[in-house]
Structures are given as C-alpha cells and as structure tokens.
C-alpha cells in the first residue's frame, strides 16, 4: 500500500476511510468524469438502432459535428445557417443576460453587505424566498405578466403607452427578463460574500481622501469584489447559456435557444449522437469562453463557488 494511502487510513480508520474514498470515487469518476467522456465518445458515433450498436457499422465519425456546420448532406445551403444562428444568438444573449444581471445585482449586493440593521435580514429573506419556488413556476409567473392579456399589457395599454398590447414574448423581452430573474441569487451571493469581508474602513478612508462614490467603487470595491463578480458572472453565464425551461416557456415561437435544439435531437428526432455532439459543442464553447474571461480578469478557479 502506498504511503499516502496508509496515512489516509491511519487518519480516518479503515471502515470510515473506505466509505469516504468510495463515495468520492463514485462521484468524481462515476458521475462526473466517465459520463462526460462517454458523451464525448458518443458524439463521434453514428446514430444506429440498438442492435447495431457495437456492430461493424459502429465506427467513429465526424458526421455529427459536420452537421452543425454544414447541415444535412446534400442540403440546399452550404452552411447550417439555422442551427449556427441559434448557437451564436444563444451565446450573445447569455452574455447580455449576464451583464444585465451584474448591473442589476451589484448595487443590491453592495447595499446588503455594507448596511447594518434588522431590515437586512428581512431583505435577504425576501431575496431567497423566490428561489425556493420552482423554476417552472417562476417562468410561469412571468408568462402571466408578459402575456398579451397579461398585467403589464393591461397597465401599459391602460396608461396609453401602447394602443395595442405589445408582444413581449415574440420580442424575447419575456425571455431575457425570465433568464435574468432566474439567476439573480447566483449573482448576488458571491458578490455579497466578498463585499461583506471588505473592511468598511477602506471605504471610509477613500471617502476621507475626497474620492467620489463612483471612484470608490471603481478603485476600491470592485477590485476587491472581483473574485465574487467573476464567480457570479461565470455561473449566470453558464446557466443562462444552458437554460432550457425559460426558453421553452417564455421564448417566442421563432426564437430557439441552443439547448432546445439539443432537446429536439434527443426527444423529437431520437438522434442521441447528434444531440451529444451539440451538447459537447455547447459545453466546450462555454468553458473556453469562461476560461478566456477568467484569464482576462486574472481570476482563479478556486475563487468560483466561494
């Protein structure tokens, strides 16, 4: 037995140590690493009926990736314009949602973290309660509001802002509002956690030296809160790019989200390898984007999830 294993079992006891090691291995290898590798492997295979899997036709192929770029073989267009457009629009919209969320949440996080008093507890509670409620129901609530005969249209038409109800859903406004709504907490918490540990004296000192509020935030608070901000942005971006419920419920009929394409490949077309290939593309692109941003802002992986 290698020395570190021996030390490990000395430290934790044999029974307890084995259970712990078993659980960790099951989680990391059985639930995280192998399924992802398996999906990657699957995305390079042709779509075959079950009896032929593992048979002579089961050869590695780039077909599924080619499909995303060039569309079906012999198709009329040289590029798969529809899917590619959905793909890049999903990413851009996710970036947009992330930025919207950051701007919305930063002041709240700062206020909650740097203010004392009982009302902060109440506010925090009010912040958390919506997140104890089902994701679908949150989207449903927004649909009631943004629907053509919804509250918002009633109010706007009543006030005379619009003559006829505005179609928030078809214009994707409901979708962006819904995605923003869904991940507010994930943006606020990391930023809040970091700002809470910021010594209030630093802000006072900056004020004392005559710095204006925007300058204090720009030079003192934001640099300090950078790990929290990037952690929140990473999570919101990944989750909005990977969202499925909100686009299905709040998305207009013409505006698909990339995850919806994956869903269709799996459930409507029963083309698992194709769906897996799309999933791999989504995952890899998101990870590369996040890593690039983390490098740009000089943040470590270890800061994520604090």
């Amino acid at each position: 037995m290698p020395r570190f294993l021996k030390e490990y079992f000395n430290r934790n006891g044999f029974g307890l140590g084995s259970v712990m090691l078993g659980l960790v291995l099951f989680w990391t290898v059985g639930l995280i690493i192998l399924p992802q590798l398996s999906m990657l492997d699957f995305s390079f295979r042709p779509n075959l009926p079950p009896p032929e899997i593992g048979g002579p036709k089961d050869l590695y192929t780039l077909e599924n990736y080619k499909y995303l770029i060039f569309g079906p073989e012999g198709g009329s267009q040289s590029y798969n314009a529809v899917d590619l457009r959905v793909f890049y629009r999903t990413l851009i919209a996710a970036v947009f949602v992330t930025m919207f969320n950051l701007m919305l949440c930063y002041p709240i996080a700062y206020y909650l973290a740097q203010t004392k008093g009982n009302h902060i507890r109440v506010l925090a509670l009010m912040l958390i309660i919506p997140y104890w409620i089902n994701e679908i129901l949150r989207a449903f609530a927004l649909r009631i509001i943004f629907g053509e005969s919804g509250v918002l249209n009633n109010v706007l038409v009543g006030m005379g802002v619009f003559d006829t109800p505005f179609d928030f859903i078809r214009n994707d406004i409901a979708l962006y509002a819904g995605l923003g709504y869904a991940y507010i907490l994930l943006m606020i918490f990391p930023i809040y956690n970091v700002i809470e540990s910021l010594d209030r004296n630093q802000i006072e000192a900056a004020r004392d030296m005559g710095a204006s509020w925007p300058r204090i935030h720009w030079r003192v608070v934001i640099p300090y809160a950078k790990p929290g901000i990037s952690s929140g942005c990473t999570m919101v971006f990944m989750l909005s790019a990977g969202a499925l419920a909100a686009p299905q419920i709040l998305g207009g009929p013409s505006s698909l989200w990339f995850t919806q394409l994956i869903y269709q490949q799996f459930n409507d077309n029963s083309d698992w390898p194709q769906g897996a290939a799309y999933a791999v593309v989504l995952l890899v692109t998101c990870i590369l984007l996040v890593l690039a941003l983390m490098r740009l802002f000089k943040v470590n992986m270890g800061d994520i999830g604090k």
């Binding site: 659980l23 919506p130 104890w132 409620i133 679908i136 129901l137 919804g150 995850t259």
Partner: protein
C-alpha cells in the same frame, strides 16, 4: 445634506423596483389562483373562487408528479449529502499537489449546463446497462435511478460547498481528542464531527431537496417513467396554462413563507436561549429549573408565523363554506348579455355589409371585398372591455381549436362551461 438624502431616496427607489421585479410576479401569480376566469389573470377581477385548488387536487398527473418528486428528492438528498460530505472531508486532507485539480473536478458540475449533465448521465448509464447485458427496462435505465444519479452529480457540489464552509471552522483536534479518549474512528465521526456538522448538513439537505424539486434541465432527459412535478408542470405550461398551476404556486409560496418564518423564529429562539443560559446561575442550571423565554417573547418572526398560520386557517375555513356559484352565474349572465349584444351588433353589421356588398357587386362584379377582416379589430374599441381583447381570443383559441374564431364573444362567455374543471367543481 441634500445630496445625501437624495441618494437615500435613490437607494430606496432602487430597492423597491428590484424587489417588485423579484416578488411582483409571485404576488400576481398568487392572485390569479383566486380569480375565476379559465385563463390565469389578475385583472379584470371577476369572482373569488377556490375551484382551481380543487381542480389541482383532482389532477392525477400533478399528484403523481409530487409523489415522484418526493421519491427523487429523498434519493438525491441522501446521495448528494453523503457525497458532498465525503468530498468536503477529502478536500481538507488531500495531497496539496492534487488539491487544485480535485477542487476543479468537484466544482465543475455546478458550471456544466444541466442539459449536458442529463445527456451524459443518460448516455453513460445506457452504455453501462449494455455492458452488463441488461434489458432496456433494468434498474440502471430506470427513470428514478437515472434522475437521482443525474441530479446528485451537481447537487453534491452545492452540498460540498455548504459543508466545506463549516468544516473549515472545525478543529481537527476534536477528532483526535475523541480518538485519544478511546473512541474508534467511527465513534469519533458520529459523536464529535457529525454533531458539529449537523447545522450545515441540515442546510445542505434542504438546499439539495429544493434543487432536486425544482430541477428541470437534467431531469427532462432522465425521468423515464417517473415524471417529477416540475416535468409535469413544464408540460402543462407549454401546452396551455390554467389557474390551477397558479393555485399550486400559491401553495408552494405559502409553504415557503412558513418555512422561512419558522427558520427565522428558530434562530431567534436559539439566540434567546443562549442569552438566558449565559445569565443563569449555576444553581438554576444544575436544578434544570432555568426559566427559558417563551416562544413568542421578543421574537418577531414567531409572532408573524402565528399570524400567518391563523390567516391560513381562516382562508381554508372560508374556502370550505364559500361558494362562488352565484357570482360566477352573475358574471356568466352578464357576459351572455354582452355576447348577445355583440352577436346582434355583428349580425346587424354583417347584414349591412352584405347589403353594401350586394350593392357593390351589383355595380362592379368580380371585385373582391376586403372589409371583412377589419371587423374584429373594430370591435376592440366598442366599449365591451377586455372580454374582446385579442389576448383572450388567442389563448382561448388555443385551448379550443375547434371553435370558430369568427365568433369572438363566444369563447370567454362559454369557456367555463366547457372547462372540465368547472364541471368537476359542480
């Protein structure tokens, strides 16, 4: 300072806007659960009704979904708290060189899109299933198993984060002290570490259950023959919405508020007890006669909790005896009158048009009339209120595609009659 108070007002306005964005949708959704129209809306208010609640409780698929959600939740909580705790403990003692890699691996599931986790779980266990030569309906491809496994993959990461935060404040000397006093590793774990971790384990379990309960992205690929509540809701919401869903949402909101208040009250009470213990004398502690503060004394959360509980009882009591039939009948009658009026007007207009057309046709035969499709739009301004607004038309239209779209007043007026829920509540 004028500047300062201006900023203050700014902050409060911002807070108000922010929280209305956050809570407004929930409030409006809750209101629609008590309004009688078949399409969930808060305005115009028609009749106070509880029928959507009874409709909800008679919906087999929803009830089955709740049952499945609880099954999946129980499995996920157990598995992910166990894995999260093991993962957190491992993080505190792993070889420093491996630490960063290990942390990246166990934190990654939070960042991997849920859709991807669902797919990879499905694909991987399908392969394992084939590897073992099992049938397509074996337990490895069972929806319950797959959903628990899929959800636990990333929920365990959340649990790990919660647990590691508490574990960082744990003095490993305590475990050593227990061992030194003769405890086995298992005893030290059970009697010292576990009690210390209990609050964090409880938080992690609640978090895990909520995350499991509301998960859609992963579950939608793995649920198989075990559709959870969220899956059922999503399917309902995608193919037409009813206030019964608002009713369910309202129940969940109320339960959530209850849980939050109970939690707050519990925390406050613990503080009070700790304060009382601190000021207690040795004799009081010894005799066990320490007078602990009452549950409601100086505990705002507890007071609100009791008030909300009483209000809930009152509402449920009202619901049991209240009957909206008269109101619904009145509204129906009024709508019928309006519809009749409308129909008559339409008929009249059509007659006029027909007459005009006849006249026009007589003058210039072969020219197609274009006036017809402007008629419904014109009716919009005709002072009949929202009954005729296009939204109502469209939504009811999707509910009952067989109905003729050309007779607009019909839908809302008779919509309730055709609604199966309405029949059931009779």
């Amino acid at each position: 300072m004028k500047n300062f108070s201006l900023m203050r007002i700014g902050i409060w306005v911002y807070l108000a806007l922010f929280f209305s964005y956050l809570l407004g949708p929930l409030v409006i959704m809750s209101v629609t659960a008590f309004n009688s129209p078949g399409f969930p809306r808060a305005a115009p208010w028609e009749c106070l009704t509880f029928e959507w609640f009874s409709a909800l409780f008679q919906d087999e698929r929803i009830l089955n979904g709740i049952k499945n959600s609880i099954l999946v939740g129980a499995g996920t909580v157990t598995l992910s708290v166990a894995m999260g705790l093991a993962g957190a403990l491992m993080l505190t003692q792993i070889w420093p060189k491996l630490r960063a890699t290990y942390y990246t691996i166990i934190i990654a599931p939070i960042l991997i899109p849920g859709v991807v986790i669902g797919i990879s779980t499905l694909v991987f266990w399908d392969r394992v299933n084939r590897l073992f030569g099992l049938e397509a309906d074996s337990f490895l491809s069972n929806g319950l198993f797959l959903t628990v496994i899929g959800q636990s993959t990333f929920i365990a990461s959340y649990c790990m984060l919660v647990l590691v935060a508490r574990l960082q404040r744990y003095d490993n000397g305590l475990t050593e002290a227990a061992l030194d006093l003769g405890a086995t590793h298992a005893q030290a774990f059970r009697k010292v570490l576990l009690p210390f971790m209990r609050p964090a384990i409880a938080s992690a379990a609640v978090l895990a259950f909520l995350a499991s309960f509301e998960n859609y992205n992963t579950t939608t690929f793995t649920f198989g023959e075990y559709p959870t509540l969220t899956i059922e809701l999503a399917q309902k919401v995608r193919y037409g919405i009813t206030p019964a869903i608002s009713a369910l949402a309202f129940i969940i909101v109320v339960l959530t508020v209850f849980a939050a208040l109970a939690n707050e009250a519990g925390i406050r009470r613990k503080e009070l007890v700790a304060a009382a213990r601190k000021s207690a004398t040795v004799e009081e502690l010894e005799s066990g006669k320490l007078r602990l503060p009452g549950f409601l004394s100086s505990n705002a959360a507890a007071v609100i909790l009791v008030v909300v509980a009483m209000m809930t009882i009152a509402v449920v009591g009202t619901a049991a005896v209240y009957s909206p039939q008269q109101c619904i009948a009145d509204v129906r009658e009024q709508k019928r009158l309006e519809t009749d009026l409308k129909v008559q007007e339409l008929l009249q207009r059509r007659a006029e048009q027909a007459a005009r057309r006849d006249a026009e046709q007589a003058e210039q035969s072969g020219q197609e009339p274009t006036t017809e499709d402007t008629t419904p739009k014109a009716s919009n301004n005709s002072g009949f209120g929202n009954v005729f607004d296009p939204g109502a038309l469209q939504d009811d239209g999707t509910d009952d595609p067989e109905e003729e779209p050309a007779t607009p007043g019909n839908n809302s007026g008779f919509g309730n009659v055709f609604d199966p829920n309405a029949l059931q509540s009779d």
